[in-house]
Subunit: 545 residues, 2 copies
């Protein structure tokens, strides 16, 4: 595709390989929460100042619920009887297990949360999950359902000695229909595995996120993961056709419909989507997969104000319509930090207060290129966009995406990041970043030297979904910074009727803040559901609501 005359040509850059996503599929589109395997994460974080504290130290106010039993040798023997083989159990109760072996189950990949779990169970079937949960419920043993453990809010790791029930051995693709695009998988199937399977059939998984290489689909569904394809393909609430789950009393919720339409009663599966394993454990998922697009184009644009970015978004929806597959926002602060860390050449020659990345996916490359070209000429002639580049090949596409995806990693360069994942009505979306920056500056916390904890306050995110990632890059975690940020950010978000968790969920991180996004009535109704399904409270305790 030729660059338009009014656009700056893209200069091909060799970005650091580690910062490029492993684009196994042509139009893979990772999310802000870049996946790094546990080992890689440890290595990455090893250079930072963050230490792996126990969650019980970070949150000393959380006390172990003494209704829960302590795990005994008898319990372990029972589980061994169910699971049969040694490899399905990691037993730190009756045997010695090294910390290294237990750590991947006790700690999240960001090394922010760490539990005291001593028993990991890896069932191989839904029936095994049912037996395990029934026994745990009968014996008041608390559990944590766990998939790939790639969450960002501590939802998939224990706090105290909860038993981890890990889905890694439930990893079969059960069914695929080549005509309807319906896929049925075990909860433990890795997202990228499913997507590669689908790619061979000409289909695409309607969810994509940075953690695709290690996250489990059951976990994605339990967390109601969002990611970038949401703009195009919608949320899991619409795409998931059926769920198989196990309730704490062992009941198997056999709601694994393969049908796109099924109006026979309450849509109970929806409670498990985004339920974060607090009312039951998802063991299989049926999902409607769309046709994979043959063509992908990416443009990177600079604009003089957030208002102009909003205009560009409106025009993109009108002019690109059905082929628009991503519209990502980045502010200059985020791009400056990426540049500082990587020392790479910027995509555009000039610098602008705001940037956006636009991706199109369609079935005809020429048509898409023409639409995108026309759109770019239009928004530049109307001076909505100040400058822009179009990627000419797959390498350049990756390179442009790296400017957006690289943000989370680059922000971590100085030591740590305070991360907020917010939904905010579009008109107000960037105001919060400006106001937060001003508060941090007014408090004298931001500066260029080690005397100041804060490096910068940046905003980026899935603009097409009103989803802002407000990030504060710091040299160290500092109570003074926290006091400036919280509850301010949550209060501000609550005032504009935003969501304090757009796509990351509640977990332990946001359990106490739900009141900023939900009324007392709603929280009360949610607790009613929790009590209905999990009256003993054994499912993923100390979290969510």
């Amino acid at each position: 595709m030729a660059c338009r005359s009014r656009l700056t040509p893209l200069i091909r850059r060799a970005a650091a390989p580690g910062l490029l996503r492993s684009a196994t599929a042509a139009n893979s589109v990772p999310c802000a929460a870049r996946c790094i395997s546990s080992t890689a994460a440890r290595h990455f974080r090893g250079s930072a100042l963050r230490r792996a504290k126990f969650t019980t130290d970070t949150y000393p106010e959380i006390k172990r619920d003494e209704r829960f039993s302590h795990i005994t040798a008898e319990h372990v023997a029972f589980f061994k009887g169910i699971l049969g083989k040694e490899s399905a159990i990691l037993d730190g109760v009756t045997a010695e297990v090294s910390g290294d072996d237990m750590e991947p189950y006790n700690m999240d990949w960001m090394r922010k949360y760490q539990g005291h779990c001593k028993l990991v169970l890896k069932p191989g079937s839904t029936e095994e999950v049912s037996k395990i949960l029934k026994y745990c419920n009968d014996n008041m043993l608390a559990v944590v359902p766990q998939g790939g453990n790639t969450g960002l809010v501590g939802g998939s790791v224990p706090v105290f000695d909860e038993i981890v029930i890990n889905t890694s051995r439930m990893n079969q693709i059960r069914f695929f229909d080549d005509v309807s695009g319906v896929l049925v998988v075990d909860a433990g199937v890795v997202l990228e595995v499913a997507d590669q399977f689908l790619a061979e059939k000409g289909y695409i998984f309607p969810l994509d996120l940075g953690a695709k290489g290690s996250c489990h689909i059951g976990g994605n569904v339990a967390a109601n993961a969002g990611g970038l394809r949401l703009l195009r393909y919608g949320s899991l609430h619409g795409n998931v056709l059926g769920i198989e789950a196990v309730l704490p009393d062992g009941t198997i919720v056999d709601d694994l419909s393969r049908l796109r339409k099924n109006n026979t009663g309450y849509d109970l599966k929806q409670l498990f989507i985004g339920g974060e394993g607090t009312i039951g454990m998802v063991t299989a998922v049926s999902i409607h997969c769309p046709q994979r697009s043959k063509a992908m184009n990416v443009a990177f644009l600079g604009a003089d104000s957030f208002e102009k970015i909003q205009q560009a978004f409106r025009e993109a929806k009108i002019q690109l319509g059905e082929i628009l597959s991503a519209f990502e926002l980045m502010d200059s602060y985020s791009q400056n930090l990426v540049h500082t860390v990587r020392q790479n050449k910027r995509p555009l020659e000039g610098e602008y207060p705001f940037y956006c990345l636009i991706e199109t996916s369609g079935s005809n490359s020429e048509h898409d290129a023409e639409k995108l070209g026309n759109f770019l000429e239009d928004v530049m002639s109307k001076e909505i966009i100040a400058d822009g580049v179009l990627a000419e090949n797959e390498t350049q596409i990756k390179s442009l995406w790296a400017q957006r995806e690289g943000i989370p990693e680059c922000l971590g360069h100085w030591g740590g990041v305070y991360k907020y994942d917010l939904s905010i009505p579009l008109g107000d979306l960037y105001k919060l970043v400006d106001e937060t920056r001003k508060r941090i500056e007014d408090a004298g916390l931001k500066g260029d030297t080690d005397d100041f904890p804060v490096v910068d306050v940046v905003g980026y995110g899935h603009m097409g979904d009103q989803n802002l990632h407000l990030n504060i890059a710091v040299r160290r975690y500092d109570k003074r910074v926290e006091e400036v940020l919280e509850p301010f950010v949550y209060e501000w978000t609550g005032k504009v009727n935003g969501s304090i968790s757009a796509e990351h969920g509640l977990g332990i991180a946001k359990k106490n803040y739900i009141g900023y996004s939900r009324s007392e009535t709603m929280v009360g109704l949610m607790k009613q559901i929790k009590n209905l399904y999990d009256p003993n409270g054994i499912m993923n305790p100390y979290k969510y609501i």
Copy 2:
């Protein structure tokens, strides 16, 4: 758009005006359940043999739940106090009300179900709904939430003397955001009104169905209406962003989020989508609306087998991808009956066992026409499709759509129709029609003269959604026909893991058949939810589960 050389040119036909949909919007795409206003429906059905029986006569086994109070003058006085004005109440308890005035609330538009209601309340606000429901709950007065009353399963009309709470006075568009496409409406806003409002802004309501001129959005959501845009825009479970509803105890469920992403707790609103007013009454809806497509193209194709139709569908998904907006199936039997009733010229010169209607919607007319043209050439050169026509203008588009949409009305020509709305895995989808026809023939029930009750057995539907409408056109309702059809149709559907109600819901029509699509466990879990929210059972009793 020029017809391709290998395609039969479309001969412009003047279809009977009454059979053309009133296409107020360029790409309005009605569903099988064609909307007719109450008066029109009566007129239409007046020529048929169907009589308006009381539901209590059709289902003598249903007994009035004696826990419910009978409405007294005191109750009526209370409601008058809440609602203030006369026009908000239709009071057949303490005053005389003509049968004609009460009929639209007591009877569905198909005149299949009729209740004995004597009190209709039309609240003007959510608060009024809350006061009404709380009072009803406290006084054990059963209620039926009612929107436009366009359902097909008797879900929105009373059986005995339940109080109708009608949403017609709650008809304000509350909010629209031109950038995000988020629309918030009262439950009583008519679908077409909302869609016309959106059309002016360049947006489209992500749901369309034949009843759009009279159905209420609150009712659409309560019924989880499907329709034709589902193939393109997905289901209401994905598009509805928020709901305001009132529980029987008067609690206002204030879950009216305007955000595309909001991962803060259980997604309770989903229980009201498709809940058919059995756990609460929807009073407002927030919904994500997509960009309206500027271009629409329609093709009508003939094929020699159902296998070839499936191949055409697969190719359409691949080649038309993001612009495919409808793929509708019609068998020769349905088209023959349309032709017999209308005596119109058929779209294709030859006759084929199967037909499909393909619609595309996109942002660039030329691109779309090229894609569709290439697709048609391809499927004809591969002999997947035997013949086809492309519409060249809006009139021809309407005319082709009339071949599909006209089916339900034409089938009613002889007196009545047994209608089944089923989801069936694609490979098996048409087998049921063949088997049903054979059973009817074997029983000696089908023939060309008045001696035979059955005119024909036809299949059509939303192929793209695996949604079959199996219809049996009859000269009269006949117990022998019913015995051949039921439980056979439901058993067959259950055996292939289909759904006995794809998009019409359960209502009273399918309450007793849910077991064919849902396990005892699932039905038990649903009853648990019903009991949780409506322990007195006052919400829309005698229906659903």
